[in-house]
Subunit: 262 residues, 2 copies
């Protein structure tokens, strides 16, 4: 349950090696922003990207002129709307979201809590959409944020239907359940994944930030490959996973059909 | 009503001048994508950006390595999820959207058609969010797409509350109503804008793509500046603007309050 607290910092904040091309440096500036750092001074931008201030300013000015960054009255930089416009064309982001939204809306009306849509990016899940009621329980999920594969509903679904070589790679690593830091036993996880495939859904119970239950189901694309996962998150004791399962699976099937799956 | 059909091509497809820095060339590659061109071959990428194929490939490979682009099994490039992740941090995109979504959801449940959220970017409106029912009438609006200021509900609101110098600039240009190409009389538009300010909302009736009515209201930010516009779009004859107005204005005020407006 660490969407906001555990983003992947593989690129962010890393000092680019000497002589790295200027495009990579510009991308490092973009990567300096994250959920906890949505607006940065030039100094912060320089520190977080590892690019010297004079060079960071020159690059930031070019990015700002194009609209990839915006500069406020206070001189702070933030991610620009122009970049957001281009990014809205990402097939795995907005494209998927557009197809899924009406079905997610139906599910949200029925469950009155949180409905999540996620895709796999490397060894994590990225939250593409979240619909939440006003009165839904607080969760840390953020659209554009990352979730671990091995301990979230959407993550387990994406992992269970990923290709076996990738699963072996993940299972070979030391994994822990956040935030309790309980180690994950590879054999237990392997059995869980088999169960997810058998049932066509994943059920996860968590104690923090509040007692909750997640039920997640796979979304299939045209080549019958799993392209995304859909889940509902409800407070423990609110609704039975037995009742939620059919609803989530039905909505996931509807989205799959719209994506051309048979 | 030309969200999908009239994007601004100010940067897209323009040939960069000789000696233009490499960052601008990389940005030109990103700008080669639009709603009608979500996946491009290397040749298309080169043609649309005006960058020679060898150089386009080198840049595209760097962007792909970082995740700003993705390359499919068929060799076509598309906008990458990593760019979408960074862009989700844009305060005027996802930040605004996150605050507005629950209220837009309420409005969508009540009106059962389309609810739009837009911000001004240069001399156009950019659609930040759209919620639509399954059975809503077809419209051309696309999230991330652009709308004209002078002939849409959200556009008129954003123009009416923009600073007077900007309004004069827009009014000085030859404007037409799409798709009929009817010229807009500056005096009539000026009176419309005054009326929008007086009523605190804009009402627009359109005949295409289907007879519809839009009612839009301003969303205020912390400095009592209009930062966005909210609207509902319903089929003509479906609901009365008299009834829709209070609903849209109420939701817009709720969002404004959440953004820190008094």
């Amino acid at each position: 349950m660490s969407g906001a607290s555990a983003p992947a910092h593989r690129v962010r904040g890393r000092r680019p090696p000497q002589g790295e091309p200027v495009v990579d440096r510009a991308l490092s500036l973009l990567a300096a922003f994250d959920a906890g750092h949505r607006s940065l001074t030039l100094g912060e931008l320089s520190r977080r990207s590892g690019i010297p201030p004079s060079s960071a300013l020159r690059l930031a000015n070019r990015l700002t002129a194009w609209g990839a960054l915006e500069r406020g009255d206070d001189g702070r930089f933030s991610v620009g709307l122009r970049l957001w416009e281009v990014a809205s064309l990402a097939p795995r982001g907005q494209g998927l979201r557009q197809v899924a939204m009406p079905f997610m809306g139906d599910l949200a009306e029925v469950t009155r809590q949180h409905v999540l849509l996620a895709v796999r990016e490397g060894d994590e899940a990225v939250l593409v959409e979240r619909l939440s009621s006003h009165h839904a329980m607080p969760v840390l999920y953020r659209v554009g944020g990352r979730l671990p594969l091995h301990s979230t509903g959407v993550g387990l679904v994406l992992l269970a239907f990923a290709d076996p070589a990738f699963q072996d790679e993940v299972l070979a690593r030391p994994l822990v359940h956040e935030p309790e830091k309980v180690p994950v036993a590879p054999d237990a996880l392997r059995r869980t994944l088999a169960e997810v495939r058998r049932q066509g859904m994943a059920t996860v119970r968590r104690a923090s930030p509040a007692p909750l239950v997640t039920v997640a189901a796979p979304i299939f694309g045209a080549e019958h490959r799993v392209v995304a996962a859909l889940s509902v998150v409800v407070p423990r004791g609110g609704a039975e996973p037995r009742q939620l399962g059919p609803a989530v699976r039905t909505a996931a099937r509807s989205i799959s059909r719209m994506l051309g799956a048979h």
